[in-house]
Symmetry: none
DNA sequence: TATGAATGAGTCTTCATTCAT
DNA sequence: AATGAATGAAGACTCATTCAT
């Protein structure tokens, strides 16, 4: 029916509005009317760009991961010592969250959980438009190259890099999640230091004494 | 109002049904009618035991964490070398999930995310009956004693145990989450080994050679 | 099925409770559970005495008018000058209301309106168990004898006593109704005086001067 | 929330439908679905114009009294001898009811009682949006000017006009109420005559003989 | 006889979606 | 292309009534 959307900027505005609404109110409780309002357009117009609420969420889903992938990729791309990179990733995660939670859109981060939850469910039910697990593995693999690099260089232990990156990202994700709600009770700098202490040393090949 | 009826078994049945329904369909989409049906009772009867959908969820919330706390506490209680305990906790988590996901109630685990999400949101909005972050810290603290123990014994690095336990549990949680959806792509045994390798060595005090 | 009620006192207690509940909450909003509670019995027991909510209301209806008829009849029965009787009736109505509204059951009087309304409706729909209009005419007729008496004695104008009593009671009813809600703004004694002044003089045969 | 849609005609249709439904079925028993159906619109549309059932009733309430006030005001406004006015008011009330009850919407009048009852209750509970007693006094005061006029002119007895108008309207209201259900048993003309006979003569200053 | 736990029919209300303008 | 009024399917919750104890 609808041939194709037109105004790409408006489409973006809808997605941005949807992120905030879904994050704040949840997927079920987030209303199309609210999204339209926040996007500054009429309720009916939303349906010129997306054929259903579900499709809006799919777009949010895609957008969210694209941004995430872009963020990490950029971070990782710079030529750098693998140890430094890991440190960078952890520092970045903590600081990114701190900055995110500071401003008025702090809650936007909840969209991550919402996506996670819905992604899980859709995958389980086999109705996911995108394979959630595939998207996740795509992200894990961002980290894989520099783990490989570190192993190759003999700095990291010769572990299976696929599994290592899985653990790294999963752990990082969990820490972000918990930091999100508990950051008032913990010290950013201490967490950074200890996190790196544990993960880095866990990864590092023990120094042959005498070396 | 309702001075709570007596049939405690029926109450449990409702909670059990609610876990499955909320996990499968989400908090908003899970219908009271479905819960009643799964519990084998009439729709109205649910309201003899809980005054609202929200209250059912609160009961699920409480029940879930009590079980979780009970599970870990039991695991940790046995007198044992701190290093072994950490190994045990990680092994337990992987195996527990494997077992959980095996049977027909595999999806029940999603209730965890649902609780997480709702807990976050309620806390943000200041309407949480229970402080979600407090409950979480309660769980972190299950692990704290044996981290303390390990530090005391000079086996672990002398890090701040409060922050260490936070990181440990948060990481474990993230790993569980991701393992949940991706376990088909990763090897249980390999993950166990590598996880312990990283975390344990990260925690362990480097052996002074010659000592 | 149910052969016949047994404990007459309990039946009365139920009706008394029902009056208060229906008056306070309305016929639709008044709950059987509340009635049972106020009557100090179990919810199921109510159904041993009345087969339905509607039947309880019918009993309240009957009870209410019986009491009303008894009250006015007693007042009217005493041998007395017809003019004095009218004065008595009006005084009685104001004072009765004042006294009624004083105590904690002040709102009970609302049952009157509830009955009125329901009586109207049932009569319209032809489902009234008792003919509401018949009951009302029964009450008008309590007043008829002394209007007749007054006319006979040549004190009142020779008007049709049936229509006069209708007007008298209907007016009295309206005045009670309005006094009920507005008594704070009007002076009891002034109202009494003026009411009698208007109605009595309206009824009284003009004194032939020179008499 | 709803910035009230524009179709004022539709709003009126809903109110008109609501009057009939509430009058026929009562406030609690009158269903939104029925109102919508009678208004010829969809169930959901009702909520575009009113945010709740209660608000519909409030609108009916306001509408009803506005009409009543308008009716009496118009009647009273014409320059005329105060005695004639009272006669007019009483005649008007009887005839108005006769005409009202003639057509198919005869029952609509029951809404008056419904409003009365609800107004009472709300006022008692202190939840009335409009003060019911205030609205009533507003109506009493429509009559006050011509009572004053009559007293001033020396035609009426020098009674307190505030209390007189209260009694007049209250009595008139009661008479209307009872006439509503009992008009089949009484003669319109006779009632008119006798009513005026009683009230007018009750009010009129006795003619000084010799004058 | 008395009870209250169980029940499901019934109702308000919400909101994604449609469609006439 | 944009809009928002109209819609009805869907769902939480209430409560009169039943019935096993």
């Amino acid at each position: 029916m609808t041939p194709l959307p037109k105004d790409e900027a408006k489409r973006k505005r809808i997605i941005a509005a949807a992120i905030r609404v879904f994050a704040h109110d949840g997927l079920s409780n987030g209303k199309i009317a609210t999204i339209a309002e926040k996007a500054g357009i009429g309720k009916g117009t939303v349906y010129e760009y997306f054929s259903s609420k579900e499709e809006i969420f799919a777009a949010v889903f895609k957008d969210f991961f694209n941004q995430m992938i872009a963020g990490y990729t950029q971070l990782i791309d710079a030529p750098m010592d693998p140890v430094k990179k890991i440190e960078l990733v952890f520092d970045y995660s903590y600081d990114y969250l701190d900055q995110l939670l500071e401003d008025e859109h702090g809650q936007d981060w909840l969209i991550f959980l919402e996506i996670f939850l819905q992604g899980f469910r859709d995958e389980f039910k086999g109705i996911g438009k995108l394979s959630f697990s595939t998207v996740l593995r795509e992200i894990y693999n961002i980290f894989k190259p520099f783990v490989d690099e570190g192993i190759q260089a003999g700095v990291f232990k010769p572990l299976d890099s696929e599994h290592v990156t899985f653990i790294l990202f999963a752990a990082l994700d969990g820490i972000s999640l918990h930091y999100f709600i508990n950051r008032d009770h913990y010290d950013n700098e201490k967490l950074k230091t200890i996190t790196k202490e544990i993960f880095l040393n866990g990864l590092l090949k023990p120094q042959t004494e005498g070396a």
